[in-house]
């Protein structure tokens, strides 16, 4: 990050001119709102929105004591782990298979990559449609198999619905990275292991999987961030946080509290907590990446 080019140009005004557009945009639309969010998290408005008072960390204390907030945290954590775990496992399987196949690998890649283009909200709508209690194709199939299914009433079913939609959408991204990671492993290592007597199964777990760990770790962090933030569309489209509040992930709660329930202070405080989560995850990832082993 701190390496620089050996040759640097000297100009007085030009660099600032070049930077001006970006600095302007991030100044107005990033730093100012982020600062505001921090400020608001330390304030509380009265019911009519006519006055604001400084309450210090009261909003945060209230959050931590609020069972529905803690519940939302728990829901989000469970959701994130399920989405990450399932999404990575399935994508890895597909990537390993695609790596083996000499003929047609390109075709498979194209056919597995296109869901990247699907908006989370649309993914939510599609899966809502397939799993809708009375009319959905898949819910019909489940009913024929004797499985009770109603995401409008059962929170387990609702969670399953959003997990499936989220995993489905994220598969192509994970697949791409795993495939690239697999292809980056030098063939001679696999051959050396084969000559050492290792069969494919053992080769995978003792050689390929450890060497894939930077990719795996990176994807784990990305998937967790994805589950925390990019899934708003899925939740809003598929379950609207329901039944009740059972699938209200944290980012959904921020939206709801800020724009539906008009609790600006609380919503801002939640935003700040989420900021903390992202920063922590990003720092962890960069630290690990810095220390990433250089395989010679």
């Amino acid at each position: 990050m701190s390496t620089e080019k050996r040759v640097q140009l000297r100009a007085r005004v030009l660099p600032w001119l070049l930077l001006a557009p970006q600095m302007a945009v991030i100044g107005v639309f990033f730093f100012w709102p982020a600062g505001q969010a921090l400020l608001q998290s330390l304030q509380q408005q009265d019911a009519f929105g006519t006055s604001t008072e400084w309450v210090g960390l009261a909003n945060f204390r209230q959050l931590l004591a609020d069972p529905s907030y803690l519940e939302s945290f728990r829901i989000t954590a469970v959701f994130a782990l399920l989405v990450a775990g399932l999404g990575l496992a399935l994508a890895l399987l597909l990537a390993v298979m695609a790596d083996r196949v000499v003929r047609g690998a390109g075709v498979y890649q194209t056919l597995l990559v296109w869901p990247y283009a699907v908006a989370p909200a649309i993914a939510g709508v599609l899966w809502l449609f397939m799993f809708a209690p009375s009319i959905g194709v898949l819910s019909y199939a489940l009913e024929r198999l004797g499985v009770a299914w109603n995401p409008l009433l059962d929170s387990g079913d609702a969670t399953t619905l959003i997990v499936l939609a989220a995993v489905w959408k994220q598969l192509s991204y994970n697949f791409l990275f795993f495939l690239a990671g697999l292809q980056a492993i030098p063939r001679s290592l696999i051959e050396a292991a084969a000559i050492d007597g290792a069969r494919p199964w053992r080769r995978f777990w003792t050689i390929v999987f450890p060497l894939l760990s930077p990719t795996s770790f990176f994807l784990l962090v990305i998937n967790i961030v994805y589950a925390f933030f990019d899934t708003f569309g899925i939740v809003d489209a598929a379950t609207r946080g329901g039944p009740g509040k059972d699938t209200a992930v944290l980012v959904y709660k921020v939206y709801y509290d800020g724009f539906k329930a008009m609790d600006l202070g609380g919503s801002a405080a939640q935003s700040v907590v989420l900021m903390g989560v992202v920063i922590a995850l990003t720092v962890v990832q960069f630290r690990y990446v810095e220390r990433r082993v250089q395989y010679g």
Partner: protein, 331 residues
């Protein structure tokens, strides 16, 4: 240890045949070098012995067993790769122990074997290091150590010294020779460097464009090359190959078998290379063909532009048929 037999081995890529009927017998405990220019198929041949490439025709046998359909992991061989292929996430010890762990050897046996190999290769203090912490020469020795501990029937070397600098190459060459003297394992060694081939081989297989040009000891190959290719490939500087006036014959003479004399072939000197202990004189004969001769440094050095007369020792002329490029037994 075991012999290796190559019987009419053929390799085809799609419809293109790249290796045409290789026939060779490598005896138990022999060190055989397969040498040839890039693209001649030597690495492909080695990989077929290893099981990393499929055999399109013919048979390969290790010991008494035909191994055409046997997986690499079951052939009881070890291979030293050009780029070492060390497992980067394992320590030196674990790298060497990997194959033994798979073979389910008991822990103390593994320990003993690794320590022994490490001692032979002077890797003692490096056992806990990772490959990225080692120099090129050390990595190469670890790669060899990994091969040694398995006590396989055959060692396969795929241009192991190509990635080392000149000095290290020389040192490692000696180490490989020493290893073979001590362990005596049947070895197949592939290289494009004829110096490596000459110094390491008990017998050499000279390959060109997917065929064997000659099999023999270094002395045989040097003193009696079977084709013009072998004549020009083995020996540095290369043998002079001159067209005879009748167009049907080619005569080969090594630079060290030409002498400056009072009378003989006329040579116009073009350049002289000073190599310290000797000089290489490059020039042209009367008919325009290029010629190189070696001159000892104790003699006065010829200069560019000089006209010399050269004598040839009759016992050191090699005659080749201009059409078949093969050696003719009589002039």
């Amino acid at each position: 240890m075991a012999s290796v037999s190559l019987r009419q081995v053929i390799k085809r890529y799609r419809d293109q045949e790249v290796i045409h009927g290789i026939e060779a017998e490598i005896a138990d405990g022999e060190f055989v070098v397969i040498v040839g220019p890039s693209g001649c198929g030597k690495s492909t041949l080695l990989r077929m012995v290893a099981g990393l490439e499929e055999i399109s025709g013919g048979e390969i046998a290790i010991g008494a067993r035909v191994v055409n359909d046997v997986e690499p992991s079951d052939r009881d061989i070890a291979m030293v790769f050009q780029n070492y292929a060390l497992y980067p996430h394992m320590s030196v010890f674990e790298n060497m122990a990997y194959g033994l762990k798979i073979a389910k050897l008991p822990k103390d046996e593994i320990r003993t074997r690794v320590d022994k190999a490490a001692a032979i290769l002077e890797l003692g203090g490096l056992l806990q290091r990772r490959p990225r912490e080692l120099s090129g020469g050390q990595r190469q020795r670890v790669a060899m150590g990994r091969a040694i501990v398995r006590s396989p029937q055959v060692f396969l070397f795929d241009e192991p010294l190509s990635n080392l600098d000149a000095k290290l190459r020389g040192q490692t060459r000696l180490e490989i020779q020493k290893l073979h003297r001590e362990l005596g394992v049947t070895s197949l060694y592939v290289t494009h460097d004829q110096v490596e081939a000459m110094t390491l081989a008990q017998r050499m297989i000279v390959m060109n464009a997917g065929r064997i040009e000659q099999i023999g000891t270094p002395d045989e190959v040097y003193a009696r090359p079977a084709t013009t290719f072998v004549a020009g490939f083995i020996g540095s500087p290369p043998m002079n190959l001159l067209r005879h006036q009748d167009g049907k014959k080619i005569v080969g003479i090594r630079p060290e078998h030409l002498f400056i004399a009072a009378d003989g072939w006329p040579l116009q000197v073009e350049t002289v290379e000073m190599l310290g202990a000797e000089r290489l004189v490059h020039g042209r004969l009367g008919d325009g063909q290029a010629l190189t001769l070696r001159v000892d440094a104790t003699q006065a050095a010829p200069r560019p532009g000089d006209a010399l007369k050269l004598a040839v020792s009759p016992d050191h002329q090699h005659w080749f048929d201009a059409e078949t490029q093969r050696r003719m037994e009589s002039a």
